[in-house]
């Protein structure tokens, strides 16, 4: 009777994959061979425990190398990082992209979310068992892969090679997904009139020279001239509000971090874009990675943070690779590291990869993920500007927000605030997908109406539009004149959320759409708080009974049950996921959409 996991050893391939990320072990106490002074010297303490943040990178390393996390590999990683095996197992089983306890699996993740299903994803899924046969390739359904402008989408994971996106795919092409990277996506508008998208598809995302030739890094020089407080005051004048969903004023956040006491602070770019129907951050990270790096450098400079992270969604391998490359080029050019651009400011920036968890887009869950824990959100307060990553003051903003801040600093806060409306300033990106002729990311000033946006993308007869993704709400055709601003959508009981605009045509049966949304939340709930963990299950059950015409008791009782669940999830959940898990479904019911429970 002893710890059984000690019986399992890592293979050489697993060991070298882990060592490549963590370096060789220091001693027999952290996975090396036991010898020398090991028996007489104490190791451990803070130095050992502080390595935990490398847990996800180490799990990724073995997953990518051998296609799964075996018992031996998990044990070795636990030794290397001084993480209890039970906790490492808890982390590995939290994230959808890790396969635990088996290796050698090639997996095709097929998106069956509410946009890809409009483009035949169900038929594709139905054909896959036959198409793939049993040659060691497995396929799985996946939530939105962020390729909604070219649905249906799939993602390949192959041992030894890693991840590759493919879109659009069909039964034939899904068997032959290669590792050639996709373009970021088509920009349908005239780039010369755009601010946030002006470089996407135009400037070489792999070349610092190309970025500089387009005016890149001029804003950093300007920021250095302004000084930290000058930057923050400029942003306060810009009236820029966060684009991630919560619409928090950026000046307040940056000032909060800058004025928080203590020598250690962090800044984070939230690129864990996982809201169904949202792909703008992918476009920016893939198409303009140096702008993300420049914006983060300014973020660190303004707030006094010397360490930054870009947390990239695990399903975005191209974005991760390009950002990593951009960071190393910037470092070589003296634009990161000690003495950034001759300003005397030290700044280190690194990329962290998510592992398949929608919840990690929530800021405190994202902190937990970087720290090497399960992506479980934390109760606020305390707020991140006081106690964030590793318990230190932390600034965290969405990718689009950071690029908008870069633009505000480029043109000046006051001119920026003159764009859009008084309460919603600046340019805004919208991800238009579904039943439109030209799906893609569109940049419009705040205040453009929904109808104008859909005209740009070529919509036909509309049944409903889902604003803000699964966590957003449906609006009907009568909302076409609604200005797309924070204030106007709020007044209409809707939300801009993540900027997803998912269009459904007028013969849509919304029953399956709502069922998919309910399934999504049931799958993506972290499981921490009761209203969301059990509420999302009961919501899926009640919705399924209603649409199947087999209510428990009367239809009224079933509706009451749904309403009660919506209410407790909205009122009492820890984080935004639970608080919005009923929002789209409730809005569909209110609008009386065809197929929604009546």
């Amino acid at each position: 009777m002893d710890i059984r996991n000690l019986l399992y050893r890592p293979t050489e391939a697993e060991k070298s994959a882990v060592d490549e990320v963590l370096g060789p072990p220091d001693s027999g106490w952290d996975g090396g061979s036991f010898g020398g002074l090991d028996g007489r010297v104490a190791y451990g303490g803070h130095a050992a425990r502080e390595k935990r943040h490398m847990l996800l990178p180490a799990l990724h390393a073995v997953q990518d190398a051998v296609g799964g996390v075996s018992r031996g590999a998990l044990g070795y990683i636990s030794d290397r990082l001084t993480v209890p095996p039970a906790e490492a197992y808890g982390v590995a089983t939290f994230y959808a992209l890790y396969g635990v306890d088996e290796t050698g699996i090639t997996t095709i993740h097929v998106c069956d979310d509410i946009i890809c299903t409009q483009y035949g994803a169900e038929a594709l899924c139905d054909s896959l068992d036959d198409a793939l046969g049993s040659n060691g390739v497995r396929w799985e359904r996946s939530p939105c892969l962020g390729q909604c402008d070219r649905a249906p989408a799939a993602m390949l994971h192959q041992p030894g090679k890693g991840y590759a996106n493919a879109a659009p795919v069909d039964t034939r092409s899904v068997r032959a997904i290669g590792f050639d990277e996709l373009d970021p996506g088509v920009v349908h508008q005239d780039r010369s009139e755009l601010a946030l998208l002006r470089r996407v598809g135009d400037v070489d995302p792999e070349s610092l020279e190309s970025y500089r030739a387009s005016g890149g890094y001029e804003t950093l020089s300007r920021a250095v001239d302004l000084g930290p407080m000058g930057v923050i005051e400029e942003l306060e004048r810009s009236n820029l509000r966060g684009r991630g969903g919560a619409a928090f004023p950026i000046g307040v956040k940056w000032r909060g971090v800058a004025e928080a006491p203590g020598p250690i602070k962090y800044v984070i770019a939230n690129g864990d874009e996982s809201e169904p129907g949202t792909f703008k951050d992918r476009l920016l990270m893939e198409g303009d990675p140096f702008a993300v790096v420049e914006a983060m450098t300014i973020y660190g400079f303004a707030t006094g943070a010397t360490h930054g992270y870009v947390y990239v969604r695990g399903e975005y391998p191209t974005a991760e690779r390009r950002l990593t490359r951009a960071i190393s080029q910037a470092r070589e050019a003296g634009l990161l590291g000690a003495d950034v651009a001759g300003s005397g400011f030290d700044f280190k920036l690194e990329v962290r990869r998510g592992a398949g968890a929608y919840i990690c887009g929530e800021e405190t869950a994202l902190f937990a993920s970087i720290e090497g824990h399960r992506g479980e959100p934390r109760q606020k307060p305390p707020f991140p500007t006081q106690h964030g990553l590793f318990g230190k003051p932390t600034g965290i903003n969405n990718i689009e927000t950071l690029l908008a801040a870069l633009y505000a600093l480029q043109i000046g806060g006051v001119p920026f605030s003159a764009l859009g409306t008084e309460q919603s300033s600046g340019p805004k990106l919208f991800c238009v997908s579904g039943a439109v002729d030209r799906p893609g990311v569109y940049e419009v000033p705040f205040g453009a109406t929904l109808g104008e946006l859909l005209e740009l993308s070529g919509a036909g007869k509309i049944g409903a539009v889902l604003l803000g993704g699964a966590a957003g709400s449906f609006v009907g055709p009568e909302a076409m004149s609604m200005p797309l601003t924070f204030e106007a959508t709020r007044a209409a009981g809707a939300t801009l959320g993540s900027g997803a605009v998912i269009v459904f045509d007028d013969d849509t049966d919304f029953g399956p759409v709502l069922a998919r949304i309910a399934r999504f939340f049931r799958d993506e709930s972290c499981g921490q708080c009761v209203p969301c963990r059990i509420g999302t299950v009961r919501q899926e059950e009640a919705l399924g009974r209603l649409s199947g015409g087999r209510p428990l008791g009367s239809r009224q009782e079933e509706r009451k049950r749904l309403d009660d669940l919506a209410r407790v999830m909205t009122d009492a959940s820890i984080c935004g996921l639970g608080q919005t898990a009923a929002s789209a479904i409730q809005s569909a019911i209110r609008l009386g959409l065809p197929g929604a429970p009546q």
């Binding site: 009777m1 002893d2 710890i3 059984r4 996991n5 998990l74 209890p84 095996p85 039970a86 906790e87 197992y89 808890g90 089983t93 939290f94 994230y95 959808a96 635990v100 306890d101 799985e140 359904r141 939530p143 398949g356 968890a357 399960r374 934390r378 109760q379 399934r519 049931r522 799958d523 993506e524 709930s525 972290c526 499981g527 921490q528 708080c529 009761v530 209203p531 963990r533 059990i534 509420g535 999302t536 299950v537 009961r538 899926e540 059950e541 399924g544 009974r545 199947g548 087999r550 428990l552 049950r561 009660d564 669940l565 209410r567 407790v568 009122d571 009492a572 959940s573 820890i574 608080q579």
Partner: protein, 308 residues
């Protein structure tokens, strides 16, 4: 700075319109209790840091969009707290109903049944419990089609792996108390953690190995904090299964553990003059309710040879 120099700061707030004054560092729950309002708590045990997970103690706070967990929210000057609003009562009732619909609660801490009655919680409104099916290994992001006619539960067969503990996870409400007691809060053994995601999360050792094959040291401090009887001593489990467990006939005798010099208090629970369980008082300065394997389980010599 000595303690006498320190200014004792008092925070003043209102609970249901009644002004309360408490020392700095108190929680909203403390404030509610001092105003005479009893609120249920599940994930917050008397010796533990609140996990803020169960949400059964939520109250309304003026100016806050969502309800707040009273156990973990620090009291601030001027807070206006309302405990009896329709909204707060609705959430507390729904949380109890949801818990009852997913887990078996009939062996929970005594107060729970009272809270359910008081709140008017009816778990059966979510349908009869789904047919007992073994739980699958964790597969985050995926789940099978719901049964619809019945409510999914956390059912799994009780894990009886040794002579000391039973882990009966059909009763687990995932309050994190056992994980925290095994980990940073008390024991620092880290034998168990939450594995999987969402509704499919469960308390697990690495790869779900049996407890004797894990890092568990059998201190039983997880049992001591479990509020629902998911973790129990083997003797208690067997007696309950046989219908022989009768708490009303049990006597509790307080004594001091005879093994080492720490001096842990032991409460010997006896039924029919035989020890059936050993605990330590939660309010004991030294133990905080914790013991080691010897104190909690090493008593079989008591009375040996008396009646065979």
């Amino acid at each position: 700075m000595t303690t006498t120099d320190r200014q004792r700061v008092t925070i003043s707030a209102s609970v249901d319109g009644k002004t309360v004054e408490l020392p700095e560092g108190s929680s909203v729950l403390d404030a509610c209790r001092s105003a005479g309002v009893g609120l249920p708590t599940l994930c917050y045990g008397p010796t533990m840091t609140p996990a803020s997970a169960c949400r059964v103690c939520v109250v309304e706070l003026e100016g806050s969009r969502a309800l707040i967990p009273s156990c973990s929210r620090e009291l601030e000057e001027g807070m206006e707290i309302r405990t009896g609003t329709d909204r707060a009562e609705h959430s507390r009732r729904l949380v109890l109903e949801l818990l009852g619909s997913a887990s078996e609660l009939d062996r929970s801490e005594e107060q729970l049944a009272g809270w359910m009655t008081m709140a008017g919680a009816r778990s059966e409104r979510f349908g009869p419990p789904a047919v007992e099916a073994p739980r699958q290994p964790p597969s985050p992001g995926h789940h099978g089609s719901p049964e619809l006619a019945a409510a999914a539960t956390v059912y799994e067969p009780a894990k009886v792996e040794d002579e000391l503990y039973v882990r009966d996870y059909s009763r687990c409400i995932l309050c994190y108390r056992c994980v925290d007691a095994c980990g940073v809060e008390h024991q620092n053994t880290f034998a168990i953690a939450v594995a999987g995601r969402g509704f499919d999360s469960r308390i697990s050792t690495e790869f779900d190995f049996a407890l004797p094959d894990s890092a568990c040291v059998y201190c039983g401090n997880c049992i001591a904090v479990c509020p629902t009887g998911a973790l129990v001593g083997k003797i208690e489990y067997d007696m309950r299964e046989q219908g022989a467990w009768d708490e009303s006939s049990q006597e509790i005798t307080r004594t001091v553990c005879s093994y080492c010099g720490v001096g842990c208090n032991l409460d010997l629970h006896t039924q029919d003059n035989r020890i059936v369980k050993v605990t330590s008082p939660h309010d004991h300065d030294v133990t905080l309710g914790n013991l080691c394997i010897k104190g909690r389980f090493g008593w079989s010599y008591v009375g040996s040879g008396v009646d065979g």
